[in-house]
Symmetry: C2
Subunit: 206 residues, 2 copies
DNA sequence: TAGATTGTTAATCGATTAACAATC
DNA sequence: TAGATTGTTAATCGATTAACAATC
């Protein structure tokens, strides 16, 4: 008997729960019902309870959930009860904004390497980080054991860069390029394309 | 009899189809089957055909879809067969990266105003755009008739900024702040939080 | 004890897939 | 004509919701 595998659609909601719980904790809220948590993430109380029940019994009847405890459990489940090293590929405007993102560490990530293939940028710094030559990327990432990468390169360079990352042993890629990249099974890719979100909204404008 | 309303989950996929079709067109591909298009967006051919069938009959039996024609139809359905003016709130690293995004116009959007509340930034330029005082934002957006905004401010400023945008007549907000904002019905909000994507992936790392 | 809220089951709902007649 | 692929229907699948016993 395997433990039932958790549907991906449920995993996708956990970071939202975690984010809401962190906010509640910051507001000094110590206990929250599924009703209250649901209101924050725009989901039904039943959905919240059902989702959480896949991982254990975290609540108390008549009371709700202890915010700090549930936050801790979600961090553990999502494996962000530690800080992951992240390699950043691409030191353009977007790469720079990502590297300087202030809230990474608190949520489990730290950019520890930045690569670019523009000779004019190599050697420059983004805060403490020195931009490295992309030619050394595979060797460097491999030797440092980094497993997560953010891809902030132009669309045309996304596939070759992703292939290099796979070669380097990267297992999870967050891709900002507006194009699907092909990677072997076992390597996860998530995409962020703001234009997709904008286009989702225009459809129902007037 | 109303025309059947289109489920949101279908609208959400159309921008992905459009993106894939634009790429195909750029590669010189003139005709694509639902099989080929599905391969590009990682969906089944049946799904593609079902989705498109909500809007009309765009294909030809035995042949597939004319890429340029379907691209044109999707642009029309998503209302990006024009260019929308967009207001950008927040001129930090992220705001700057968004303002300088090269691919906006080709996909239906153009940043025409940037606001910040930091006196040190007001008056500075991002390429051709002059950073405006956020205090003038409501009046300015309203007088220019802008209906779409991108919110790139710190989490703590997201709600007040969103409320100002609503007051200014904004109907669609793309929010980069890692927090839910409350807006009246009829105003759409989409969120982008890279940490949510990273946390979705860590769960299944080893 | 009375009130509230969980965890879970069964029912509902909606989305995806498979299959195929129509037809290019 | 033969081969291919659409648009659509019916079947399947899975996710969400409603309801409630358990219990804090």
């Amino acid at each position: 008997m395997q433990p039932a595998p958790i549907p991906d659609i449920i995993i996708c909601r956990l970071p939202l729960y975690l984010r809401a719980l962190s906010q509640m904790a910051a507001e000094g809220i110590q206990v929250a019902s599924s009703q209250e948590l649901g209101a924050r993430v725009c989901l039904s109380p039943a959905q919240i309870r059902k989702d959480l029940s896949h991982f254990g019994e975290f609540g108390k009847q008549g009371t709700g959930y202890n915010v700090a405890f549930l936050e801790e459990q979600l961090r553990r489940i999502l494996k962000v009860d530690r800080v992951w090293d992240v390699a950043l590929v691409g030191a353009g405007d977007l790469g720079r904004a990502i590297a300087r993102h202030g809230g990474l560490v608190a949520r489990g990530f730290r950019i520890t390497a930045v690569y670019d293939n523009d000779p004019a940028k190599i050697g420059d710094q983004i805060d403490e980080l020195v931009i490295q030559d992309a030619h050394r990327m595979v060797e460097d990432i491999r030797s440092r054991g980094i497993r997560i990468a953010v891809l902030a390169v132009p669309a045309g360079e996304a596939q070759p860069a992703a292939s290099m990352l796979v070669e380097a042993g990267i297992q999870a890629i967050l891709c900002y390029a507006p194009t699907a990249v092909i990677v072997p099974g076992g390597v996860q890719v998530q995409y962020i394309d703001p234009l997709v979100h904008l286009q989702r909204m225009t459809h129902s404008l007037r």
